[in-house]
């Protein structure tokens, strides 16, 4: 059993080369197979939500539909537009597809198991800054999308690429901030230590605001509905991948699904106790010589995946400005305030503050929140009335007003009377 921090790092330090190589290979194969299954699963689930059957012809329940589609996609003609920047056009999908696998290197998939007679854990490596490493990899991965958009040499992909870069810059901030509370409570940035630190309470429970912020920003980070503004097929045809076909398109496809699995795995590890069993089922962790923990890990990841599909089946796409506004004006300030609260509480309990002080602090926070929300509601109401009563007759400085604007203003004012 792994029950103390740093134990995983020690175990992994004893891995011989062949174990490391084999683990890497297994993670790769696993990701690819899971992607193919995920595509099929998503289509089936979405179909059910839309009162359809979904793919059910190829294999039992259509289970190898994903494989068939993959083969078909790979055999299509590969086009490179004349106006494309060739080198970047080819590099972009490669960046996307290689970086998405790398995040899995630090995700602990199981507890201690025997791997062909060798005692180890199913985790490629354990870094003391593992979670930051995942963030770094994710931010490199976005280059694939942005470069694809730029290099295609056409308008829709460029818009998609720009949207995606703005999206990532703003949502990665919120994502990183949401993880700070976890670091403070776990006292570590290593994924395996964070799992160990959650043996009593999942952080999804005690750090619920962080969990909620992470869940929202992870959907933004992976470009999935309702935040799929970078590909927005209704507005931008296909966004960044409009000009891509055949294997290059398949690489983007692969990257999208592996990214979903990667952020879901990270959420599982950081907030849902990773490979540990659900509460009350701790005895199952020793089944099959510890390999049963893999089941728990994937059960949690698949729950996240189902929610991703559910969101896609339910919600319409956000408007771009609302999306940005939500990120900068809601998510980031909320997570900053939450970090302040968490760190204050942490320092209080570390310094052995008496209970009444901690409760007093919590009470004060709630009180301040109520006052601020009341104040902001009033301010919003005032702003709304100000807008209504605003007249453009006497602006502070001369402004160009087109005929059309004047006409609309005039008609609006007449309608008011």
């Amino acid at each position: 059993m792994i029950n103390s921090k740093g134990m995983v790092a020690q175990l992994l330090g004893q891995d011989p080369g062949w174990v490391i190589a084999l683990k890497g290979l297994l993670i790769f194969i696993f990701c690819v197979v899971l992607t193919i299954m995920a595509v099929w699963g998503e289509r089936r689930i979405v179909a059910r939500m839309q009162m359809r059957l979904g793919p059910n012809r190829v294999g039992i329940f259509g289970i190898i539909q994903g494989l068939a589609d993959g083969v078909k996609l790979a055999l299509k003609e590969d086009l490179i537009p004349k106006t494309a920047d060739k080198i970047v056009f080819i590099i972009a999908p490669i960046i996307s597809a290689t970086t998405c696998f790398m995040a899995f290197a630090v995700i602990p998939l199981t507890g201690e198991v025997s791997f062909f007679g060798h005692k180890t854990v199913m985790q490629l490596t354990d870094l003391p800054v593992g979670v930051l490493y995942v963030l770094a990899i994710a931010s490199v991965g976005v280059y694939g999308i942005v470069l694809a958009g730029w290099s295609s040499g056409s308008t829709y992909p460029l818009l998609g690429g720009l949207r995606s870069s703005a999206q990532v810059i703003s949502y990665e901030v919120a994502m990183a901030l949401s993880l700070v509370a976890v670091f403070i409570y776990a006292g570590s940035m290593s994924t395996s230590d964070i799992v160990v630190a959650q043996d009593r309470w999942w952080y999804a429970v005690i750090l619920f605001p962080s969990f909620a912020i992470y869940c929202i920003s992870m959907v933004g980070e992976t470009n999935r509905a309702p935040f799929d503004l970078a590909e927005a097929e209704g507005e931008l045809v296909g966004g960044f991948h409009t000009e891509y076909s055949s294997l290059k398109f398949a690489l983007f496809f692969l990257a999208e699904y592996i990214n979903i699995l990667a952020v879901s795995s990270l959420a599982t590890t950081l907030f849902l106790g990773g490979y540990r069993a659900f509460p009350g089922l701790g005895f199952t962790e020793t089944w099959l010589g510890g390999w049963f923990t893999l089941f728990w890990f994937f059960a949690k990841v698949l729950i996240f995946f189902f929610v991703f599909v559910w969101l896609r089946g339910t919600l319409p796409r956000l408007r771009y400005d609302q999306f940005m506004q939500f990120g900068w004006k809601t998510l980031i300030p909320v997570s900053l305030a939450w970090i302040l609260i968490v760190s204050t509480l942490r320092v209080m309990s570390d310094q052995g503050a008496p209970q009444y002080l901690i409760f007093g602090f919590a009470f004060a926070v709630v009180l301040i929140y109520l006052v601020i929300s009341n104040y902001s509601d009033n301010a919003k109401a005032k702003l709304a009335t100000d807008y209504k009563n605003f007249t453009p007759e006497n602006p502070e400085f001369p402004i160009p007003i087109s005929n059309r604007t004047e006409q609309v203003i005039q008609i609006r004012d007449e309608a008011k009377k």
């Binding site: 920047d85 970047v88 870094l127 003391p128 800054v129 930051l132 490493y133 963030l135 770094a136 931010s139 490199v140 976005v142 280059y143 942005v146 470069l147 730029w150 040499g153 460029l158 720009l162 870069s165 703005a166 990532v168 810059i169 990665e172 990183a176 940035m189 807008y387 209504k388 605003f390 453009p392 602006p395 502070e396 402004i399 604007t405 006409q407 609309v408 203003i409 008609i411 609006r412 007449e414 309608a415």
Partner: protein, 262 residues
């Protein structure tokens, strides 16, 4: 002298392989960054230089520094990328014209100055100082050691720098901000304006391009019931760019007997 320098530079084999593979690549990328014509390529090569530097840091056991280098600099290069797209243009190449007088001498002086500063700083930090070694510096863990230095000994410098950055960001926002002089038109306002406007025919919105025309492209005007081209069906932007075909040629040719009826 050279021998000692070489001995200092010697490392264990895997790290040495990493170094000799990555170092030439990153130097090439750094030189390429200055020489390539397209600004975006330049930004890309810069990103590569930053990532390979990060890998060097990690190889030297400065794990935190390496990862933070990637997080910060990839974000920064992304911003640069956006600036290029917004300010320089999507596809522009560098112009080789010198707009500023005495640009070259100024650039050379600045380069020599920065080089001298760097050399003197590194010299002051290394010559006649005994290095502690990683084992002492990382006694309580790499991240913890860094945090302790940042939040105790260097907390003032750290805060000053963050204040500087925030001021810069706010300054940029203030400069780029423009006040709204009127409220936005709501859908209701626009709809009312359409119905009370001069032409009731436009109440349902402007006609789309290419409707009932010979072609259904965006640059082909729609046709009205009498066969004439509807000029309003084409985007004004396209018209201003000169991307629109002459609408005359799409008008219906009246046949002989139709005109004789009149």
């Amino acid at each position: 002298m050279i021998r000692t320098a070489l001995e200092v530079g010697m490392t264990k084999s895997p790290e040495a392989i990493l170094f000799w593979v990555l170092a030439p690549l990153s130097v090439l990328a750094a030189i390429g960054m200055l020489l390539v014509k397209k600004a975006v390529h330049s930004a890309l090569l810069l990103a590569w230089v930053m990532i390979s530097l990060a890998i060097f840091y990690i190889a030297q056991e400065a794990l935190f520094l390496g990862i933070v280098q990637i997080v910060v600099y990839t974000g920064a290069v992304m911003m640069l990328f956006l600036f290029i797209l917004m300010l320089v243009g999507v596809d522009s190449a560098d112009s080789l014209l010198e707009n500023i007088k005495y640009l070259r001498p100024i650039a050379v002086t600045a380069a020599i100055g920065i080089g001298g500063l760097l050399v003197s700083l590194i010299g002051r930090a290394t010559i006649s100082h005994n290095a502690y070694g990683l084992s002492i510096a990382n006694q309580n863990g790499n991240v913890q050691g860094l945090a302790q230095l940042l939040f105790t000994k260097y907390v003032w410098a750290f805060e000053v720098i963050s204040a500087l950055l925030i001021t810069a960001a706010l300054g940029a926002m203030v400069l780029a901000h423009s006040n709204k002089v009127r409220s936005k038109f709501s859908q209701r306002d626009l709809s009312a304006a359409r119905f009370r406007g001069k032409k009731l025919a436009e109440a349902a919105g402007l006609p789309g391009p290419g409707v009932y025309a010979l072609h259904n492209a965006v640059d082909v005007p729609a046709r009205l019931p009498d066969g004439s081209a509807a000029a309003t069906s084409i985007s004004r932007v396209l018209e201003a760019r000169g991307d629109v075909l002459e609408s005359k040629q799409f008008e219906l040719q009246q046949s002989e007997d139709e005109s004789s009826d009149k």
